[in-house]
Amino acid sequence: MAELTYREAVAEAIAQEMERDENVVFLGEDIGKAGGVFKATVGLFDKFGPERVRDTPIAEQAILGAAMGAAMTGLRPVAEIMFSDFFAVCWDIVANQIAKTRYMTDGQVTMPLVIRTANGGGVRFGAQHSQAVENWAMMIPGLKVIAPSSPADVKGLLAASIRDEDPVIFFEQKSLYAEKGEVPDGEHIEELGTAKVVRPGDDAVIYALAAMVPRAVKAAERLQAEDGINVSVVDVRSLVPLDTQTIFDEFRKSGRAFTVEENPRLCGWGAEISSLITEECFWDMDLPVTRITTPHIPLPASDNLEDAALPSVDRIYNTVREGLD
C-alpha cells in the first residue's frame, strides 16, 4: 500500500494499463507534455512518448471521434475531456455514435474506450466549469458510467474501465484530486457494476457518489456521535451497470433511504434510485426516499453561494436527522 493522491492514482492506472497493453493509447488537450491541467497525467508523456500520449487541438469532437474510430479498429483509447461541461460540445460523438454503434450494427463493432473527465463543483469555477453531469451519461443507453470517490477506487476502476470492452465514461471529481488515500501496490483492478458499503449502519442508508461520499460519511459520523443514529453509507461508484443488489440489500435493513447528489435537482441518478426502490421495495419502505441535491439552478461562482448550492455535511446531517424524526 502506498499513499497516493486521487490525481496520482489516475496516472498510475493509465500507466499500469499502457504497460500491460500497447494498444492502449491516450489523447486529449494538454495531457501530454504538460501533464494535464489538473496534473492528473504527469509522467505519461515521458514514459510512453508522443505516439501513445497525444496532445490534441481544442477540438473535442475530433478527440472523441478519433478515439471511437481507433477503438473500432483495434486500439483501446483513453480520451480526456478536460471538464465534463465540455461534453456539450461533443455530445453527438458520445451519445449518438459511441453509445449506439454496437447495437445498431448488431454487434459488428466493439467499442473498448474510456473517456475520462473532471466533473463537479466546489472550486469556484462558475456555471460552465463546475457541473456534475453523471446523469447526462446515465440517460444514454450504451454507456457505462463510473465515478470513484477515493484514490484506490480511481486506480482500480479506471484500470477496469480500460480493460472493459465497452465504452466507459469515467468521472473524476475535480474537488477530490488533491485528496490522499491508501492505494494497493502493483496491479489493482476493481469490478465495474459494484457499489460499496463504505460505512455500515441499520437506521437508514445514504446513497452517495464521488465528492458526496466523504460528505455523507462525515454526516453519518456526526449522526452517530450527536444523535446515536447509525446510518449506512453506500458509495454507488458505478451508475451503469447499477448494483441494484447492494442498493436494495442495504435499503431493506432499515427501509429508510436518502440520496446525495451533486447534480441539479431534476432527473438525476437519485430520482432513478428513488424510483427503483419504490418500484421494487415498496412494501419494505418505512419512509419515502429523500433526495438531497443541488437546487435546479446553474452553479454560482462565489464561495458562499456555491457552498450553499452544493449538498453540504450540514445539509445532509440536518435532512437525515429531521427525516428520521
Binding site: 475530433a62 449518438n96 445498431m104 466493439t110
Partner: protein, 363 residues
C-alpha cells in the same frame, strides 16, 4: 480481377467479368492501348459493374419503397455511382470506408451482399444489421465498410480515428470518408480536417458535391463556390476538384491520394461534383431543382457515359451487355431472397448493447 481480392467474392452478385477479360484481349491495338492504360481493362470492367450494381439495387429499393416494403427512409445515390465505384476500385481490401445515410452504394461496392443490403432496408432478419440499424446505418465490418452515419459530420473524425489506428499499428491501411457538400459547413468537418492534417493521418475525405444539402442549393448557404476544394488550403492541403460522374477520373485522384496516405504523406480532401437523380430522400420529389439543371445532369449520367467509353475503347458489346444482364439478375435474386427472409427475431431487441451480448444496465 481486383474484385476477387476483396475478402468476399459475394455470391449474390452473379455478375462476373472474367469472360469479358478475354473478350477485351481481342480489341484493336489502338483501343487496347487506351483500355490498358494506367487503369486497365480489368478495373474498368469492375467499375462498370459496380456502378450498375448500385444503380439497379437503388432503383429496386425505390420500387420496394413504393410497394411499402422498404420502411422508414432511404437516401438513394442514383447518379452518384461513379464516385463509389472509382474510390472502391482504388482501395485495398483492408482499407476502411466510412459513409453516410446515403451509403448503400459505398457499402455495396466494398462487397456487402445485395441480399443483406436490401434485407436491411426492408427490416428483415437477413439484413446486414438484422434490421436493428435500418437503411441509414449499413455496416459490413468484414468488408471494411465501417458504418453509415446519419448525423451530419460525425463520421469525419471517426474516420480519422481509424486512420490513426492504422498509422499507429503501421498497417498501411487507408481510411476513406464520404460525405456531402452540405457537410462542409458543420463543425465536425473542420475539427476532423485540422486534426487529420496535423497528425498526417492516412485518411481521404471525399466530398460528394451534388449541389444540394436537402432541398437548399449549397451555394445559398456556403461562403465559397467549391465547398470542399476551396477550403483545402485552410488545412494546408491541396485543392482537388474532380468530375464525380467519371469513374476513371475519380479512380485516379483516389488512387493517388491513397498512395500518398500510405507513404506517410497525410490526408487528402477530394471534391467530386455530381448530381443525384432522385430527391434527397424517399419522400422528396425534388421539385426545387431547375428543370434545365436536371436535364443537363441527366445527360451526363455516369453509367451511359462509361458504357460508351468501354465500347469506344474496344470492349465488345456482348461483354458489356453480359455484365448488364448478370447484374439485373443478381438484383432480382437478391430481391427474392430478401423478401423471403422473416422479420428479425424478437430476441434481438435485447442483444448487443454490450460486448457481452446483453443489454442489462443492472445486476
Amino acid at each position: 480481377m481486383a474484385r476477387k481480392a476483396a475478402k468476399s467474392a459475394t455470391k449474390s452478385r452473379g455478375a462476373s467479368a472474367k469472360a469479358s477479360s478475354k473478350a477485351g484481349a481481342k480489341t484493336s491495338t489502338r483501343s487496347k492501348s487506351r483500355l490498358n492504360d494506367d487503369i486497365g481493362e480489368e478495373k474498368r470492367l469492375k467499375m462498370f459493374q459496380l456502378q450498375l450494381e448500385v444503380r439497379h439495387l437503388e432503383k429496386r429499393a425505390h420500387d420496394l419503397f413504393l410497394q411499402n416494403l422498404v420502411k422508414g427512409t432511404s437516401h438513394l445515390a442514383v447518379g452518384q455511382e461513379a464516385i463509389a465505384a472509382g474510390c472502391a476500385t482504388a482501395m485495398r481490401p483492408n482499407d476502411y470506408t466510412f459513409c453516410t445515410y446515403r451509403g448503400h452504394a459505398h457499402t455495396m461496392v466494398r462487397g456487402a451482399p445485395m441480399t443483406a443490403v436490401l434485407g436491411e432496408l426492408m427490416g428483415r432478419e437477413c439484413g446486414l444489421l438484422k434490421g436493428k440499424g435500418g437503411s441509414m446505418h449499413l455496416t459490413s465490418v468484414e468488408h471494411g465498410a465501417m458504418g453509415s452515419y446519419a448525423i451530419i459530420g460525425a463520421h469525419l473524425p471517426i474516420a480519422a480515428g481509424a486512420a490513426w489506428a492504422a498509422q499507429y499499428k503501421k498497417t498501411g491501411q487507408v481510411s476513406f470518408c464520404f460525405f456531402g457538400d452540405g457537410t462542409t459547413n458543420i463543425g465536425a468537418f473542420h475539427e476532423a480536417l485540422n486534426m487529420a492534417a496535423v497528425w498526417k493521418l492516412p485518411v481521404i475525405f471525399v466530398c460528394e458535391n451534388n449541389l444540394y444539402m436537402e432541398y437548399t442549393p449549397i451555394g445559398d448557404v456556403t461562403a465559397v463556390p467549391n465547398p470542399a476544394a476551396d477550403r483545402a488550403a485552410a488545412y494546408g492541403l491541396e485543392s482537388i476538384l474532380v468530375d464525380g460522374n467519371d469513374a476513371d477520373a475519380v479512380y485516379r485522384v483516389a488512387y493517388a491520394a491513397a498512395e500518398k496516405a500510405r507513404s506517410g504523406g497525410g490526408p487528402s480532401l477530394i471534391e467530386a461534383r455530381t448530381y443525384r437523380h432522385f430527391g434527397h430522400s424517399r419522400a422528396d420529389p425534388a421539385t426545387y431543382r431547375p428543370k434545365k439543371e436536371v436535364e443537363e445532369w441527366l445527360a451526363r449520367d455516369p453509367i451511359p457515359m462509361y458504357r460508351a467509353r468501354l465500347l469506344e475503347f474496344g470492349v465488345k458489346e456482348n461483354v458489356v451487355s453480359g455484365i448488364e444482364e448478370s447484374v439485373l439478375k443478381a438484383v432480382d435474386d437478391a430481391t427474392e431472397a430478401a423478401k423471403e427472409s422473416p422479420p428479425p427475431s424478437m430476441e434481438l431487441l435485447d442483444t448487443d448493447v454490450w460486448a457481452d451480448g446483453g443489454a442489462s444496465w443492472r445486476n
